[in-house]
Symmetry: C2
Subunit: 105 residues, 2 copies
DNA sequence: TTATATATATCGCATACCCAATATATTATA
DNA sequence: TATAATATATTGGGTATGCGATATATATAA
Protein backbone atom coordinates (compact mmCIF):
# COMPACT_ATOMS: atom_id res chain seq x y z
CA UNK A 1 0.00 0.00 0.00
CA UNK A 2 1.99 2.87 -1.31
CA UNK A 3 -0.31 5.33 0.34
CA UNK A 4 1.22 4.68 3.71
CA UNK A 5 4.83 4.29 2.87
CA UNK A 6 6.50 7.12 4.71
CA UNK A 7 8.79 5.92 7.41
CA UNK A 8 8.15 8.47 10.10
CA UNK A 9 4.60 7.25 10.21
CA UNK A 10 3.17 10.65 9.57
CA UNK A 11 1.96 10.24 6.03
CA UNK A 12 -0.87 8.23 4.63
CA UNK A 13 -3.15 8.11 1.71
CA UNK A 14 -2.34 9.71 -1.62
CA UNK A 15 -6.00 9.68 -2.53
CA UNK A 16 -5.40 7.71 -5.65
CA UNK A 17 -8.67 7.35 -7.45
CA UNK A 18 -10.16 10.60 -6.32
CA UNK A 19 -8.72 12.79 -9.03
CA UNK A 20 -11.72 12.66 -11.31
CA UNK A 21 -14.05 13.44 -8.47
CA UNK A 22 -11.90 16.32 -7.36
CA UNK A 23 -11.78 17.77 -10.86
CA UNK A 24 -15.53 17.59 -11.21
CA UNK A 25 -15.93 19.29 -7.88
CA UNK A 26 -13.49 22.07 -8.73
CA UNK A 27 -15.14 22.68 -12.08
CA UNK A 28 -18.50 22.92 -10.36
CA UNK A 29 -17.28 26.06 -8.64
CA UNK A 30 -15.97 27.71 -11.76
CA UNK A 31 -14.78 26.80 -15.26
CA UNK A 32 -11.03 26.37 -15.44
CA UNK A 33 -8.30 25.28 -17.78
CA UNK A 34 -5.87 22.47 -17.19
CA UNK A 35 -3.05 24.23 -15.47
CA UNK A 36 -5.45 26.18 -13.34
CA UNK A 37 -6.91 22.92 -12.10
CA UNK A 38 -3.46 21.49 -11.45
CA UNK A 39 -2.60 24.59 -9.48
CA UNK A 40 -5.71 24.40 -7.36
CA UNK A 41 -5.08 20.73 -6.64
CA UNK A 42 -1.52 21.59 -5.69
CA UNK A 43 -2.82 24.18 -3.26
CA UNK A 44 -5.12 21.65 -1.68
CA UNK A 45 -3.11 18.46 -1.71
CA UNK A 46 0.30 20.00 -1.54
CA UNK A 47 1.38 18.12 -4.62
CA UNK A 48 0.87 19.23 -8.18
CA UNK A 49 -0.36 16.58 -10.59
CA UNK A 50 1.90 16.29 -13.61
CA UNK A 51 0.70 17.03 -17.15
CA UNK A 52 0.69 13.30 -17.77
CA UNK A 53 -1.82 13.04 -14.99
CA UNK A 54 -4.12 15.96 -15.48
CA UNK A 55 -4.66 15.87 -19.23
CA UNK A 56 -5.52 12.21 -19.56
CA UNK A 57 -7.93 12.69 -16.68
CA UNK A 58 -9.57 15.63 -18.43
CA UNK A 59 -9.76 13.70 -21.65
CA UNK A 60 -11.40 10.82 -19.89
CA UNK A 61 -13.96 13.05 -18.24
CA UNK A 62 -14.71 14.72 -21.55
CA UNK A 63 -15.13 11.41 -23.32
CA UNK A 64 -17.62 10.40 -20.68
CA UNK A 65 -19.54 13.58 -21.25
CA UNK A 66 -19.00 14.99 -17.80
CA UNK A 67 -17.09 18.03 -18.92
CA UNK A 68 -16.96 20.08 -22.10
CA UNK A 69 -13.98 21.91 -23.47
CA UNK A 70 -14.78 25.34 -24.77
CA UNK A 71 -12.94 26.43 -27.86
CA UNK A 72 -9.33 27.24 -27.35
CA UNK A 73 -8.99 30.83 -26.29
CA UNK A 74 -5.42 31.89 -26.50
CA UNK A 75 -3.12 29.30 -25.02
CA UNK A 76 -5.71 27.74 -22.82
CA UNK A 77 -8.71 25.48 -23.08
CA UNK A 78 -11.45 26.09 -20.60
CA UNK A 79 -13.42 23.18 -19.22
CA UNK A 80 -16.96 23.36 -17.94
CA UNK A 81 -19.22 20.88 -16.22
CA UNK A 82 -21.95 19.51 -18.43
CA UNK A 83 -25.42 18.73 -17.12
CA UNK A 84 -24.40 15.11 -17.10
CA UNK A 85 -21.33 16.05 -15.11
CA UNK A 86 -23.35 18.03 -12.63
CA UNK A 87 -25.60 15.09 -12.14
CA UNK A 88 -22.71 12.67 -11.70
CA UNK A 89 -21.10 15.02 -9.22
CA UNK A 90 -24.29 15.33 -7.21
CA UNK A 91 -24.58 11.57 -6.87
CA UNK A 92 -20.91 11.10 -6.11
CA UNK A 93 -20.93 13.84 -3.54
CA UNK A 94 -23.74 12.13 -1.69
CA UNK A 95 -21.80 8.92 -1.64
CA UNK A 96 -18.62 10.69 -0.64
CA UNK A 97 -20.29 12.50 2.20
CA UNK A 98 -21.93 9.37 3.51
CA UNK A 99 -18.71 7.41 3.23
CA UNK A 100 -16.57 9.91 5.06
CA UNK A 101 -19.17 11.10 7.51
CA UNK A 102 -17.42 12.24 10.63
CA UNK A 103 -14.05 12.88 9.06
CA UNK A 104 -14.85 16.53 8.65
CA UNK A 105 -15.03 18.39 11.96
CA UNK B 1 -11.28 5.47 -15.70
CA UNK B 2 -13.40 2.75 -14.28
CA UNK B 3 -14.71 5.06 -11.63
CA UNK B 4 -16.98 6.78 -14.11
CA UNK B 5 -18.13 3.91 -16.20
CA UNK B 6 -21.86 3.83 -15.59
CA UNK B 7 -23.82 4.71 -18.65
CA UNK B 8 -26.65 6.68 -17.16
CA UNK B 9 -24.14 9.27 -16.12
CA UNK B 10 -25.18 9.16 -12.53
CA UNK B 11 -22.26 7.32 -11.04
CA UNK B 12 -18.73 8.40 -10.51
CA UNK B 13 -15.81 7.63 -8.32
CA UNK B 14 -15.45 4.36 -6.49
CA UNK B 15 -13.02 5.98 -4.08
CA UNK B 16 -10.40 3.43 -4.88
CA UNK B 17 -7.37 4.14 -2.81
CA UNK B 18 -9.16 5.44 0.24
CA UNK B 19 -9.68 2.10 1.93
CA UNK B 20 -6.71 2.35 4.26
CA UNK B 21 -7.62 5.84 5.27
CA UNK B 22 -11.20 4.84 5.89
CA UNK B 23 -10.16 1.89 8.02
CA UNK B 24 -7.89 4.04 10.15
CA UNK B 25 -10.67 6.52 10.62
CA UNK B 26 -13.21 3.87 11.59
CA UNK B 27 -10.81 2.29 14.06
CA UNK B 28 -10.21 5.69 15.60
CA UNK B 29 -13.81 5.70 16.74
CA UNK B 30 -13.72 2.23 18.24
CA UNK B 31 -11.75 -1.01 17.97
CA UNK B 32 -13.31 -3.48 15.59
CA UNK B 33 -12.68 -6.79 13.94
CA UNK B 34 -12.50 -7.43 10.22
CA UNK B 35 -16.07 -8.23 9.42
CA UNK B 36 -17.30 -5.42 11.58
CA UNK B 37 -15.21 -3.01 9.55
CA UNK B 38 -16.45 -4.48 6.29
CA UNK B 39 -19.99 -4.08 7.53
CA UNK B 40 -19.51 -0.45 8.48
CA UNK B 41 -17.93 0.30 5.12
CA UNK B 42 -20.85 -1.39 3.42
CA UNK B 43 -23.22 0.85 5.35
CA UNK B 44 -21.33 3.91 4.25
CA UNK B 45 -20.35 3.13 0.69
CA UNK B 46 -23.20 0.85 -0.15
CA UNK B 47 -20.79 -1.86 -1.20
CA UNK B 48 -19.17 -4.40 1.06
CA UNK B 49 -15.47 -4.99 0.53
CA UNK B 50 -14.70 -8.67 0.01
CA UNK B 51 -12.49 -10.70 2.36
CA UNK B 52 -9.76 -10.52 -0.27
CA UNK B 53 -9.93 -6.78 0.07
CA UNK B 54 -10.30 -6.18 3.76
CA UNK B 55 -7.78 -8.63 5.19
CA UNK B 56 -4.84 -7.73 3.01
CA UNK B 57 -5.58 -4.09 3.83
CA UNK B 58 -5.57 -4.86 7.54
CA UNK B 59 -2.39 -6.84 7.21
CA UNK B 60 -0.73 -3.99 5.41
CA UNK B 61 -1.78 -1.48 8.04
CA UNK B 62 -0.54 -3.77 10.76
CA UNK B 63 2.79 -4.28 9.06
CA UNK B 64 3.19 -0.54 8.88
CA UNK B 65 2.51 -0.30 12.57
CA UNK B 66 -0.66 1.71 12.24
CA UNK B 67 -2.92 -0.84 13.81
CA UNK B 68 -2.43 -3.65 16.30
CA UNK B 69 -4.35 -6.86 16.44
CA UNK B 70 -5.34 -7.90 19.89
CA UNK B 71 -5.21 -11.57 20.71
CA UNK B 72 -7.87 -13.62 19.10
CA UNK B 73 -10.93 -13.64 21.27
CA UNK B 74 -13.25 -16.29 20.08
CA UNK B 75 -13.60 -16.22 16.33
CA UNK B 76 -12.63 -12.66 15.93
CA UNK B 77 -9.52 -10.53 16.01
CA UNK B 78 -9.96 -7.02 17.25
CA UNK B 79 -7.89 -4.26 15.72
CA UNK B 80 -6.91 -1.07 17.47
CA UNK B 81 -5.16 2.08 16.34
CA UNK B 82 -1.62 2.38 17.55
CA UNK B 83 -0.06 5.70 18.51
CA UNK B 84 1.67 5.66 15.18
CA UNK B 85 -1.65 5.05 13.51
CA UNK B 86 -3.29 7.87 15.38
CA UNK B 87 -0.55 10.16 14.27
CA UNK B 88 -0.79 9.05 10.66
CA UNK B 89 -4.52 9.50 10.73
CA UNK B 90 -4.22 12.98 12.15
CA UNK B 91 -1.90 14.05 9.37
CA UNK B 92 -3.95 12.37 6.68
CA UNK B 93 -7.15 13.87 7.96
CA UNK B 94 -5.68 17.31 7.71
CA UNK B 95 -4.68 16.67 4.13
CA UNK B 96 -8.01 15.10 3.33
CA UNK B 97 -9.95 18.00 4.78
CA UNK B 98 -7.88 20.58 2.96
CA UNK B 99 -8.13 18.65 -0.29
CA UNK B 100 -11.87 18.25 -0.21
CA UNK B 101 -12.69 21.52 1.44
CA UNK B 102 -16.11 22.62 0.30
CA UNK B 103 -17.37 19.19 -0.63
CA UNK B 104 -19.02 18.77 2.72
CA UNK B 105 -21.99 21.09 3.19
C1' DT C 1 12.46 36.08 -37.10
C1' DT C 2 14.31 33.51 -33.37
C1' DA C 3 14.15 32.14 -28.73
C1' DT C 4 11.78 31.28 -24.60
C1' DA C 5 7.91 30.23 -21.79
C1' DT C 6 3.51 28.30 -21.08
C1' DA C 7 -0.37 25.09 -22.18
C1' DT C 8 -1.93 21.01 -24.06
C1' DA C 9 -1.39 16.22 -25.53
C1' DT C 10 0.15 11.33 -25.84
C1' DC C 11 2.45 7.10 -24.92
C1' DG C 12 4.64 3.52 -22.15
C1' DC C 13 5.14 1.82 -17.83
C1' DA C 14 5.43 0.56 -12.84
C1' DT C 15 2.57 -0.34 -9.39
C1' DA C 16 -1.12 -0.01 -6.21
C1' DC C 17 -5.79 -1.48 -5.56
C1' DC C 18 -9.14 -4.55 -5.12
C1' DC C 19 -11.55 -8.85 -6.26
C1' DA C 20 -12.49 -13.92 -7.01
C1' DA C 21 -11.28 -18.11 -5.51
C1' DT C 22 -9.63 -20.80 -2.19
C1' DA C 23 -7.85 -22.38 2.22
C1' DT C 24 -7.72 -22.51 7.19
C1' DA C 25 -9.43 -21.79 11.92
C1' DT C 26 -12.84 -21.40 15.31
C1' DT C 27 -17.48 -21.76 16.98
C1' DA C 28 -22.24 -23.34 16.98
C1' DT C 29 -25.54 -26.74 15.97
C1' DA C 30 -27.43 -31.32 15.00
C1' DT D 1 -18.88 -36.52 16.28
C1' DA D 2 -20.21 -34.49 12.07
C1' DT D 3 -21.97 -30.45 9.79
C1' DA D 4 -22.77 -25.84 9.04
C1' DA D 5 -21.69 -21.15 9.77
C1' DT D 6 -18.65 -17.46 10.57
C1' DA D 7 -14.06 -15.16 10.68
C1' DT D 8 -9.60 -14.85 9.07
C1' DA D 9 -5.97 -15.46 5.64
C1' DT D 10 -3.51 -15.93 1.14
C1' DT D 11 -2.58 -15.88 -3.57
C1' DG D 12 -3.02 -14.81 -8.47
C1' DG D 13 -4.51 -11.66 -11.50
C1' DG D 14 -7.10 -7.83 -13.97
C1' DT D 15 -7.11 -3.16 -14.32
C1' DA D 16 -7.13 1.66 -13.34
C1' DT D 17 -4.17 5.26 -11.88
C1' DG D 18 -0.88 8.50 -12.11
C1' DC D 19 3.92 9.66 -13.49
C1' DG D 20 8.04 10.48 -16.55
C1' DA D 21 9.41 11.56 -20.86
C1' DT D 22 8.40 13.58 -24.84
C1' DA D 23 6.01 16.07 -28.48
C1' DT D 24 3.17 19.79 -30.23
C1' DA D 25 0.87 24.31 -30.21
C1' DT D 26 0.38 28.95 -28.98
C1' DA D 27 1.99 33.23 -27.08
C1' DT D 28 5.39 36.42 -25.53
C1' DA D 29 10.05 38.46 -25.57
C1' DA D 30 14.33 39.62 -27.56
Amino acid sequence: MRSFSNDNGSYCCDMRGMLGFLILFLLSKKPMHGQEIAEEIARRKGERPSPGTIYPALKSLREMGFIASDEREGKTIVYTLTERGKNALRISKRRFIRTFLGVFP
